[in-house]
Symmetry: C2
Subunit: 726 residues, 2 copies
């Protein structure tokens, strides 16, 4: 463990001062070598090179894939992929019809030909990285103004990606520690992905929103996909002639039962953490950003719920959008509650005071880092002057607020950006994104309800009207003024104009508009496109201002991280940024509060206990029947006296890790990570192994369900072929 | 343990069939000898005779007292008594004033002279019993009609009590197993009771309604009283010349720290259980009685809450009444939830089917018990025809519904009954109850709010109007008809008449009315008294009908219990009936559901965790300060690493056991029982040691609070004098 390197007294002092536990850290694979003693002490029997060997670009991590927002892993030589049910949710929804509702009833492909296209799903196979820090920083001169520095770095990132992208290999250049280092990651993109197995919603979503973020958990949050490629083995779009992809690496299922206290590691794609935020930044988040976010989410949820009461069809149409908003709201509320519970701000402030004292105590440190906290806070204060406006400007074009405005903004900008050289465009408008953008514009139809869309936009416009002077959204002000009316009348008039006959509500119009050039699009004088173009002027003005902030952070965050690292005297991990990370810990229960202990494992009997027959506690009758004879199941754990369902581990993960493989000390698959506990929800700011836990679904539950509930022997054999006969 | 006597295979079968656990049973002391092997195996080192020796009428149980609805125990040679804070609640409230609010702030008597009168509190010291089964049953002839049988038994009970009552010795004759046996208990009544120590509400009621019935628990639910007597040592009313009572027995505090798994026993006064109810009786309770009760309680709570919003003074006035109603409601809801969770009805039905098969399998058994279930159910069905009316008739005169009608009913009946010979009166109208009745009529003033009282009575009258034909309350029908109006107008007119100038709202009028003879009272033509007299005609008509039911049960319940006993082949305990019982078990945590374990002990750190500064999680600042230095406290438990607060045990208790001493295998005091867990709330019907737990407050927490929070060294010394210097 990391802190084993620290002399015992210091370690104790550090733990007492702020309980950063041994397992903290979502480590880039480039740091694996720094950790080799720690992970060996913790129980890992593999050498770091077996996880990933940069010299050969191979290793266990080759089995781990990104689904974009979720993680997954290859689990058979024929491209079978295991991930969470909730990561396959939208693909499952797209394949569901009232007559064949696989979202409710589940789906087992009887053979490979019966597998269903998972539209909108792509698989990104890890292929390695190179350190491009020198190349990026070569573009930066010390005397550059912050905005110029940010622009120079961004330009160099684009060049480095363009040089690397090739065929189906997609590259990205990301910063570590806010700009201390830059890595270029390579991923192979596979776009023919198919649904192989989806459990019934009563298993895959068992417990639903009630149990979301909670322990004890009994969710069978698993699904199986398969990647397909052209007959030549090369990535290819969906085609009947395609064949299953044969990955270089795939994970084997664990051969022995994991036990409490055992080593466990996770490889996955955590999205974002904020562990190097200053105390002032944390204060702003907790006292301003998060409450603002909660208010908006609560209001949007209320609008959607009210609209959903218009009818069952509307309710179903809004279900996915509402689920996303609810989940964000629940996380934000949990964050605020958790922050209060552990006094996050107070402990961050105390930690920062200690850090600053330590810096101040030595002239050399003072010279290096004496101003880093105050300079960061000053930049933060400058940025705060437009926070209200920036917040709203970020929400207005979001498809999860109003899908029509989201579509208009995407189409308007895409048609403009596509005429430019790629190096002049932000990454999200590169040609390689065209397919995903088109897909989004097509699939939004399923969730579109004009009345709800209008009420959400009305809400956002009202919020815009209430913005303080100096923080106005010009596009909104101009649009409302143009109605010739004032106040609520102006909003209504503008909405009447937009929603009178919204052409973009037609998927064909969206598709043809997307293909137009920008001038032709504008010439159509669609009010939506005109509003989107106006909003872009606000947006681009903001982006120009942001360059100064970005440039300041490019120098400040690396300095702050360097100070923290020197102060702690141990390796530290950079914040999550959507790239592949390694985290290790143990299988462990936890005491969430005095008098209560969460056990490390839940069991099949707990599913039966919770089952009420009504969603979200509604497993199929055939599972209840199978449970009655589970005592003789080979997936029964004799220590637990039952088939295991989910388990807790002390790994450090966050959003994006969903579907990640959790492996034992030999690198065998023991489960899939799918959630964090409510008590550990503040880990994005500060991980505390005394309270934070990852929630995983046990692969033995997957196997038991495939065997005893689904009778899908062919899938079990495919999963187990590497294990011989059991 | 009881089931150790059963061959292992049978025990397993029984446990599998219906999980009646080893610890089930609230045992009359008369059965202690039957249990001697079982309790010795379980760990008790005392001989049954040391708990109570009928030949000398002495033993540990002599230290255990009833407070009427609560239990307590002597804990010093000078009559110091330990019980729950909630058992002293009303006495504490009566001693609280806005200027000296001891309910909120607590109270420590600096010395004996400073102790406060606990008006309305009496202490009943256990003095033994004799078996009067033969004497009672001698009054019964086999050919008697059921009603005559019931009347004969009741008459004999009164004679036996009258023969026994003497001075301050109060007797009662109670049936066991519904009439299989009759015991006459003797208690010494002490009426000068004083408050010695009351913790601040933030300790004594920490967690309040939120934590009520819940684990983990951190409530310091303790208080100390003292019994005083005349200078001659004989019971006497309060007087300045009185001296502390010197009990024959008192409990010593445990000298060693209790540990999980350790033997524990409780002596106390459980009120009522219903374990020999037939499945049809349970079905009626769950499907009809309890939902009806829940509905009424919810409606009353809503009325009181709405009225409470009129102002802070009204809210305070209604606080105690609301707390009682809320507690009843929470218990009823928990019972329904728990019954569903454990399938109480299904398991009762299955158990009954097995019992009936066993009876039917043998001609001798069939002759004895073949009809007992069906005959009981037939009697139940006959009674069910007036359930709606009986339910309302029971609620109308309850002081916890409307205190004015409660007072009118009590005064009207008392003035009539008191003119009769005692043997012709129900026990509750014997002269010995006069003091308590007067006290109640005086103290009701504190909770009386006329507007609320009127709204509650309006609600009950509306319910009476809705009763089906054949189940009418004649008194209500006549009163409403007499208004000359119909429907809601009649109710309003009747209420207008009652509440125009209610004389009984004046405590002096209640006192003088209570002293009048019945004719003089009626001559006053008070509309309340007239309504009470009319209601009594309904009530007495019901009592006459009930005699038939009572008489049937007097023969059926003993037969059913005998069948169950023969079937189980082990000693069985009679239902609780408010008399002294012994229950044994262990200190044990419990898993309330898969994935969660409740630990056996809670700790001081849990109090600090829960403390928010707002009621009900609001310990005094001085407790938080003391907690900071608790690591060096002599009351710290080294295994727990903290001062213990509450603990769980598998003892079988119910309402009335509050304040009961829980003792180790040597009979030393380790805590005070004060609640059951939510999960075990169905124990009144079926005790299950796998889920049911008693919640106790640890005597070490009491001592830590007295020492470190209250600095009440004199009380600590009195509690510890038997332990030598620690």
């Amino acid at each position: 463990m990391v802190s084993l390197r620290v002399p015992a007294l210091i370690a104790l002092a550090v733990l007492a001062a702020f309980p950063v536990a041994a397992e903290e850290g979502m480590w880039p694979l480039a740091q694996l070598d720094d950790l080799k003693d720690a992970v060996r002490s913790a129980g890992l029997t593999l050498a770091p090179k077996e996880i990933w060997d940069p010299s050969t670009n191979s290793g266990l991590a080759g089995a781990v894939v990104s689904l974009g927002g979720c993680t997954a892993s290859f689990v058979s030589p024929d491209g079978l992929i295991a991930t969470n049910h909730h990561c396959a949710f939208s693909a499952v929804q797209l394949n569901s019809t009232p007559e064949n509702n696989i979202l409710e009833d589940g789906f087992v492909a009887a053979n490979q030909q019966a597998e269903l296209r998972a539209r909108g799903t792509r698989v990104l196979v890890f292929k390695g990285w190179d350190d491009v820090t020198r190349e990026v920083l070569a573009a930066v001169r010390a005397d550059m103004a912050p905005a110029d520095r940010a622009a120079a770095v961004e330009g160099r990132r684009r060049e480095l990606v363009a040089q690397c992208d090739s065929g189906s290999v997609r590259c990205q250049v990301v910063s570590m520690f806010g700009g201390a280092g830059f890595y270029r990651f390579r991923q192979l993109e596979l776009t023919d992905v198919r649904l192989v197995y989806v459990p019934p919603r009563g298993i895959g979503e068992f417990g639903g929103e009630v149990d979301n973020w909670m322990w004890p958990r009994h969710t069978g949050d698993f699904a199986l996909l398969r990647a397909w490629v052209g007959p030549d083995g090369a990535p290819a779009p969906w085609a009947t002639a395609n064949v299953p992809y044969r990955p270089e690496r795939y994970l084997k299922l664990a051969q022995s039962a994991p036990v409490e206290g055992e080593f466990a590691m996770i490889l996955g794609y955590p999205g974002a953490t904020t562990r190097y935020r200053t105390a002032a930044g944390v204060a702003e988040d907790l006292q301003s950003t998060m409450p603002r976010r909660v208010k908006l989410l609560q209001d949007l949820v209320a609008i959607l719920e009210a609209q959903g009461r218009r009818g069952k069809d509307v309710e179903l149409r809004l279900a996915t959008q509402l689920k996303q908003l609810d989940n964000s709201l629940k996380k934000a509320l949990g964050m605020l509650e958790g922050a209060g519970h552990i006094d996050l701000l107070g402990s961050k402030q105390a930690e920062e005071r200690r850090l600053e004292s330590w810096i101040a105590a030595d002239p050399a440190r003072k010279a290096l880092w004496g101003d880093v906290v105050s300079a960061t806070d000053a930049a933060l204060a400058r940025r705060a002057v437009s926070r209200e406006r920036d917040f709203l400007l970020a929400w207005l074009p979001q498809p999860r607020a109003t899908s029509l405005l989201g579509a208009a903004v995407a189409i308007e900008r895409w048609t403009d950006e596509k005429s430019k050289p790629e190096l002049d465009r932000p990454f999200e408008f590169w040609n390689r994104e065209e397919r995903a953008l088109r897909q989004r514009l097509a699939s939004m139809q399923r969730g579109l309800d004009l009345s709800t869309d209008r009420e959400v936009l009305r809400y956002l416009l009202r919020r815009a009207v209430q913005l303080p002077a100096g923080q106005r959204v010009t596009a909104v002000d101009q649009a409302l003024t143009a109605t010739g009316k004032t106040g609520e009348d102006a909003i209504t008039a503008f909405l009447d104009r937009l929603y009178a006959a919204p052409r973009l509500a037609d998927p064909n119009v969206r598709e043809t508009s997307f293909a137009l050039d920008h001038a032709a699009l504008l010439a159509q004088q669609d009010p939506w496109i005109a509003f989107a173009a106006a909003l872009r002027r606000d947006q681009e003005a903001k982006e120009r201002v942001d360059l100064t902030w970005d440039g300041s952070m490019l120098s400040l965050v690396p300095r702050l991280a360097a100070a923290v690292k020197a102060w702690r005297g141990t390796p530290i991990a950079p914040d999550a940024n959507g790239t592949l990370r390694f985290t290790y810990g143990q299988l462990h229960g936890v005491s969430p509060r005095d008098g209560v202990v969460y056990t490390a494992f839940t069991r099949l009997r707990g599913v039966v206990e919770k089952h009420t027959g009504e969603a979200p506690f509604n497993v199929p009758e055939r599972e209840l029947e199978a449970a009655r004879t589970s005592a003789s199941s080979p997936y029964r754990d004799s220590r637990l006296g039952d088939v295991p369902v989910c388990f807790l581990s002390s790994n450090d993960i966050t959003g994006g890790n969903s579907g990640s493989p959790i492996m034992n000390s030999s690198g065998e698959l023991i489960g899939l990570a799918f959630d964090s506990t409510w008590e550990g929800i503040t880990a994005d700011y500060r991980y505390d192994a005394a309270i934070g836990r990852t929630i995983n679904v046990d692969v033995r539950y997957l196997q038991w369900v495939l065997d005893s509930v689904e009778h899908a022997g062919h899938l079990l054999r495919e999963l187990r072929q590497v294990r011989g006969n059991r």
